[in-house]
């Protein structure tokens, strides 16, 4: 490849942003609207839900009836280009530990397919009182104005509840529960478990003041991304609107290699390889903003070594990559005999949660710290791959239409009728909990492995501690109790042999904490504005700055934090020479 050379751009942008997900998208949106000239680099293709969504396709329009594949881990219609593994872009693990890394290479990243569950972290999440983890350098009160602005800008449904650590937002009306969820709600109440309306970024009504986005028409397919922009994706709600200002340019298929710095150690831009022509490029920015995802941003920093930053950029503390944590997750399923032969109607609803249980207990009485929330599901959903599976575990458990018990399994007209009778009886519950941020759960650069672009890859070291296993056990016990009280027949619960169904780290896709913020430069990489202690024109706006995640899904906090960082950048423009 004698023609290989590095193409250096002569343009200097006010800001170069790496990544177009929730963090990068919000930073780009705020800065472009303020008049800054912004360049955004995305490692995947351009993606516009209006054109590229598989919304409203029926299962039979997929030859595999919507089943997942190695390139669509959440089903054939799901809007994530990527998954747990990417061809030619490996990652490794260390000491027989486990981590699953989900990457979505496309404009908007993982926000095109996410569950839209939009929870604020609470006062105790930012400032924990149990002493187990570091406090954030900011409080809920610092974040509240930004959560409020995100609610107004993007839209979120929910109900005002006044719960201390589950702060209320500025809510659109929530979708009403499905029939299954009414049973869950009643059963949970008997089990002493709080259930409230879900909180999700779906426009159940038109968003005041916004003419570009349509109101939800209740197809329940948010994970396919929405053609009318009725839910939040960074592509539809942030990046594409920011492009319309004329101030933000996107380069897609640009895989960033490293952040470039000058002799004094200040960031000057980034280098990337274009997947379109496989050529090497360098672009210049007065500031560099990383929103590549918690692990990818850590990887970029660690790969950006120079004389001024010998241990990697923003890493004089040695903290980059450490304190990686994902939410805990464990689930259960079952079915409700009361729902057999149910009346049919359109129950698709929204593609987020209609109801959920915020953490409802006091840790003083429990054998594990912090807590979890529960997400619920079930209903008359579109049949796809997997429909009807395992009927032999159901149709022998209840009387047939004639009142007599049937032999489990079978075939023929009677079996065909059973599938009709059991349609829509299923219920599911999933716990999502706080995992403690620990220094020895980390990602680092694998000294021996590069990806197909020649970029050194990440190596993970992550182990659950007894705290997380105990939490998963508590989830399983709670699920069983709720199902008992609602008269459900539970599928076999996850037991000790599977650590109570505790998913491997990374599987819940809430990984955060790898470039954490703090007031002490020896114990953190970023200050309280997500600005690098070691490099004042470098910012991180994804989930990497999180000190400690609550049980709440990360996205709403990423958005609020990124907006806060972007506004700080605007307020500091002169000082930063932007």
């Amino acid at each position: 490849m004698s023609d290989l050379q590095i193409k250096k751009s002569s343009t200097t942008y006010d800001a170069v942003i790496v990544g177009s997900g929730a963090g990068g998208g919000m930073a780009g949106y705020v800065l472009a609207h303020a008049g800054l000239k912004v360049l955004m680099l995305e490692a995947g293709p351009f993606f516009d839900p209006q054109k590229n969504s598989a919304q409203l396709k029926f299962s039979w329009e997929s030859p595999r009836r919507g089943a997942s594949t190695d390139s669509r881990n959440f089903g054939d219609f799901d809007a994530a280009f990527g998954g747990w593994s990417l061809e030619g872009e490996p990652y490794t693990t260390k000491d027989n530990t486990e981590f699953q890394w989900f990457r979505s290479r496309m404009l908007g990243g993982r926000t095109n397919h996410w569950g839209r569950i939009s929870l604020r972290m609470g006062p105790h999440d930012f400032q924990p009182k149990d002493g187990l983890t570091e406090k954030w350098p900011i409080t809920y009160d610092d974040m509240k104005p930004f959560y409020d602005k995100v609610d107004r800008l993007i839209g979120v449904f929910g109900t005002v509840e006044g719960l201390e650590n589950e702060p209320d937002g500025i809510f659109l009306p929530p979708p009403k529960p499905r029939l299954n969820e009414l049973y869950i709600k009643a059963g949970a109440k008997k089990a002493g478990v709080t259930v409230i309306a879900g909180r999700g970024s779906v426009l159940t009504e038109a968003l005041p003041g916004n003419k570009d986005r349509g109101a939800c028409f209740f197809c329940g397919q948010c994970n396919r991304s929405c053609k009318i922009y009725g839910d939040f994706s960074s592509s539809s709600c942030l990046v594409i609107p920011a492009m319309k200002t004329g101030n933000l340019k996107v380069i897609s298929n640009a895989m960033v290699r490293e952040v470039l710095t000058d002799k004094e150690g200040a960031a000057t831009g980034v280098s990337y390889i274009s997947k379109d022509d496989m050529q090497e490029y360098q672009v210049n920015g007065k500031i560099v903003i990383l929103g590549a995802s918690a692990c990818e941003s850590a990887r970029l920093l660690l790969n950006s070594k120079s004389a001024a930053h010998p241990g990697g950029l923003a890493n004089s503390s040695g903290i980059v990559g450490k304190y990686l944590h994902d939410s805990t997750g464990s689930g259960a399923s079952g079915w409700l005999p009361q729902l057999m032969d149910r009346k049919r109607y359109n129950e698709d609803g929204v593609g987020s949660v209609h109801i959920y249980s915020p953490w409802w207990l006091d840790n003083k009485k429990l054998d594990f710290p912090r807590g979890y929330h529960i997400e619920y599901g079930g209903g008359l959903h579109m049949p796809g791959y997997g429909f009807g599976g395992g009927i032999q575990h159901m149709n022998g458990a209840v009387p047939g239409r004639d009142g007599k018990m049937k032999e489990a399994g079978g075939f023929g007209a009677g079996l065909k009728d059973d599938y009709r009778r059991f349609y829509g009886v299923n219920i599911g519950m999933a716990g999502r909990g706080t995992a403690i941020a620990r220094e020895d759960n980390y990602c680092e650069i694998d000294p021996d492995v590069v990806d197909k672009f020649g970029i050194p890859v990440l190596r993970f070291h992550y182990k659950w501690a007894p705290d997380e296993v105990k939490q998963a056990k508590h989830m399983q016990d709670t699920f069983q109790e709720i199902m008992h009280h609602m008269g459900a027949i539970a599928d076999a619960p996850a037991g000790k042999d599977t650590s109570y169904g505790l998913e491997a780290p990374g599987v819940i896709i809430h990984e955060v904490g790898t470039v954490r913020m703090g007031d002490d430069p020896k114990k953190s990489a970023l200050n309280k504005y997500c600005q690098a202690h070691d490099c004042n024109n470098l910012f991180v706006v994804d989930a990497a700055p999180f000190v400690q995640q609550g049980d709440k899904n990360a996205t709403w906090t990423i958005l609020a934090l990124s907006m806060r960082t972007a506004e700080y950048i605007l307020s500091q423009r002169k000082k930063l020479n932007v």
């Binding site: 598989a54 009836r65 009414l182 396919r224 009346k343 009807g388 399994g409």
Partner: protein, 214 residues
């Protein structure tokens, strides 16, 4: 974006939701039985697919896994599992055998259990009736299937047959009820623009709930 613009954006033009539902019902009746869009057609004009996926599907569609005898046996089996009745057609009417042929190529973990299971079934049939399964009489086929269709009462020495039949039953049900014919049979009426206002009043009442919030 107002509602009319929204419907336009999702490719429904300016027709109302009511008309849309009418139109899809008519299509339903007309196309019943032959509704499965071929993978090639789905893939060709689909901006939601990646080049990798288009290439992969093209490759899968060019391959053939089951031989003619196996396909015929599968067709007999799926129609025993889901026969035509007064509400809808049979599994083969809904092209379930074609779905099974595709899915084993897409999910190779099904290949050996199905190929081996079909041969297991033929051997049982040859030993009992001196004919392969598909060449046995309808009654003989039913008699043999009965021995492996009820996991709890099946003889222990037929356990492999039970596993095979469980898999076959699952794939048949999935293939049938995810087809246009199957969804119509099941009464799935979603995947269409609507306004979700909660569980309908008569359903709430039938299940003993006072309000849409329980």
């Amino acid at each position: 974006m107002n509602r009319r613009e929204s419907l336009k954006a999702i490719g429904i033009g300016t027709i109302t939701t009511g008309l849309l539902l009418d139109a899809s019902c008519k299509t339903d009746t007309k196309k019943q039985g032959g509704e499965v869009t071929t993978p090639q057609e789905t893939a060709a004009a689909d901006p939601a697919r990646t080049p990798y996926e288009l290439e992969r599907e093209k490759k899968l569609n060019a391959e053939k896994f089951f031989n003619e005898h196996e396909m015929k046996t599968i067709t007999v089996l799926v129609d025993i599992i889901i026969p035509k009745d007064d509400k809808s057609g049979s599994a083969s009417d809904a092209k379930v055998p074609d779905f099974i042929e595709f899915i084993v190529k897409d999910m190779p973990e099904h290949q050996t259990p199905l190929r081996g299971g079909l041969r297991w079934l033929d051997l049982q049939s040859l030993n009992r009736y001196n004919n392969t399964f598909r060449e046995s009489s309808a009654q003989q086929q039913i008699d043999l299937v009965t021995l492996i269709a009820y996991p709890k009462k099946a003889a222990p020495e037929l356990a492999q047959g039970v596993s095979f039949f469980n898999r076959m039953r699952d794939l048949t049900a999935t293939g049938f009820f995810s087809s246009q014919m199957g969804m119509k049979d099941l009464g799935y009426v979603g995947n269409a623009p609507n306004k979700w206002e909660g569980v309908p009043a008569d359903v709430l009442k039938a299940h003993g709930f006072d309000t849409v919030w329980g």
